[in-house]
């Protein structure tokens, strides 16, 4: 498959198919925000360091500032707008796991994937995953508590 400068891409975002005209060089973050007006994923460092732009591709977290939109054709993309009343969103509210909220969508997407993939995650695994995101307001403790509360609830319900 070869493409010219602007091309049509069929992207599946939050369960809906979208036809988008974009450059092959456009990042997924740019296309989500500027073409699809899904502004939940945030631009932070644009360098792969902060995790504010985290979305899920086929259920796994990726930093959308470092992935081309065209790479995600045929995959399922989930952004924060696609999570509705998920346990991790509820837990962030209950544990006051944010202050300014800028990092929150990225943290929630990453933490959601973690709790889905590793319901038995150890402290080391939780730390390893959460280290992918930076919170300038330093809500780290509350975020960790929110994640652990979701894991605990999952266990109680088993």
């Amino acid at each position: 498959m070869a493409t010219t400068q602007q091309c049509e891409m069929l992207l599946t975002v939050n369960g809906e198919a979208h036809s988008v005209i974009a450059r092959p060089a456009d990042t997924l973050l740019f296309v989500l925000r500027n073409k699809l007006r899904l502004t939940g994923a945030k631009p932070g460092c644009l360098n792969g360091d902060c995790g504010a732009c985290t979305v899920l591709i086929d259920g796994g977290p990726i930093k959308s500032c470092m992935m081309l939109a065209i790479e995600t054709v045929g995959k399922t993309i989930t952004t924060i707008e696609g999570l509705k009343h998920s346990p991790i969103q509820q837990a962030f509210v209950e544990h006051f796991a944010f202050q300014c909220g800028y990092c929150t969508p990225g943290f929630i997407m990453n933490a959601h994937a973690l709790t889905e993939k590793y319901p038995d995650a150890s402290d080391d695994v939780i730390q390893e995953w959460l280290e992918s995101n930076i919170c300038r307001c330093t809500s780290y403790r509350e975020i960790e508590q929110a994640v652990k509360s979701v894991l605990l609830k999952k266990h109680r319900n088993d």
Partner: protein, 276 residues
């Protein structure tokens, strides 16, 4: 935001990828192989990389292999570092890979991209240098298998149009005693001040480094000093005299500080592998 345009190509075979590279070059383009894209995208934004055509190798089946074949571990260049960690076929590689960047970034960073990248730490190459791995490379003259020592000298010495398909490692190396220590300026994520990886084979230490010089390396002269029948500190002092140059001296740490940290890291590595 990538500040220039490129065309995107997704070949599904090695042959198609090689042909594409040649055709694009004949059209006057500057094609580039593309794997995780993390370096290409982030360095493009800073105008440190330019390409007008990317050839994504991730759909090529040979680049996605993760298997034991004929007593060798075969790892495709397009396999992500987290996939390798989760499968854990080579514990030293798992340990090294798991300390590159962060968990989310490693879902994208590929083995081949880390080794072939411009960003000079290329930490995933350390276990491969220690295990005398072989690299499978495709180019216009076909597919060749070569020793990593021939091809990786400071960086991958690939000819224009060549790309890495796979890395093969003899199974006997996978379970050898190992040690790995990455020391950063601060925190648990990010580039190393120094990274030392070691394997013990037939009673001898094999040691490889990243973050010490502006390239990863394994040195026979250093290993000879570290394997002498002398007190540990003497062996380390002598080994440090034989490091390649230059020692990195940058914002992460001065050359003097790196050598100080390296000395202590080597002590910890040797203690771990040889006991007190």
């Amino acid at each position: 935001m990538v500040p220039f345009d490129f065309t995107y190509h997704q070949p599904s075979s090695i042959h198609e990828a090689i042909q594409l590279f040649q055709t694009l070059q004949q059209q006057g383009k500057k094609p580039m192989y593309y794997a995780g894209g993390t370096e290409i995208i982030t360095l493009s934004r800073l105008h440190l990389v330019f390409t007008d055509a990317v050839i994504d190798i991730k759909q090529i089946p040979e680049c996605q292999v993760l298997d034991i074949q004929q007593q060798q571990l075969v790892l495709g260049a397009g396999v992500s570092l987290t996939t390798i960690e989760e499968a854990n076929p080579f514990p030293l590689l798992t340990k090294t890979a798991s300390e590159v960047a962060d968990r989310t970034a490693r879902n994208q960073i590929t083995l081949g991209g880390n080794i072939c990248g411009q960003i000079f730490y290329r930490e995933a190459v350390l276990p491969l240098l220690l295990a005398d791995s072989e690299v499978v490379i495709a180019g216009k003259d076909g597919v060749q298998q070569r020793s990593i020592h021939q091809v990786f000298q400071q960086h991958m010495q690939l000819q224009p149009g060549e790309f890495l398909i796979q890395v093969k490692t003899e199974q006997t190396y996978l379970s050898l005693p190992y040690a790995h220590i990455k020391r950063r300026k601060q925190g648990e994520v990010g580039y190393p001040l120094v990274t030392v990886a070691a394997l013990k084979k037939d009673g001898q230490l094999r040691v490889a480094f990243s973050g010490v010089c502006p390239f990863p390396f394994r040195s026979q002269a250093v290993e000879e000093r570290l394997n002498q029948q002398l007190p540990v500190n003497t062996r380390i002092d002598e080994a440090l005299q034989h490091l390649p140059r230059p020692i990195l001296d940058d914002i992460e740490g001065s050359a003097q500080y790196r050598l100080f940290v390296l000395k202590h890291t080597l002590f910890d590595i040797i203690t771990e592998l040889e006991g007190e």
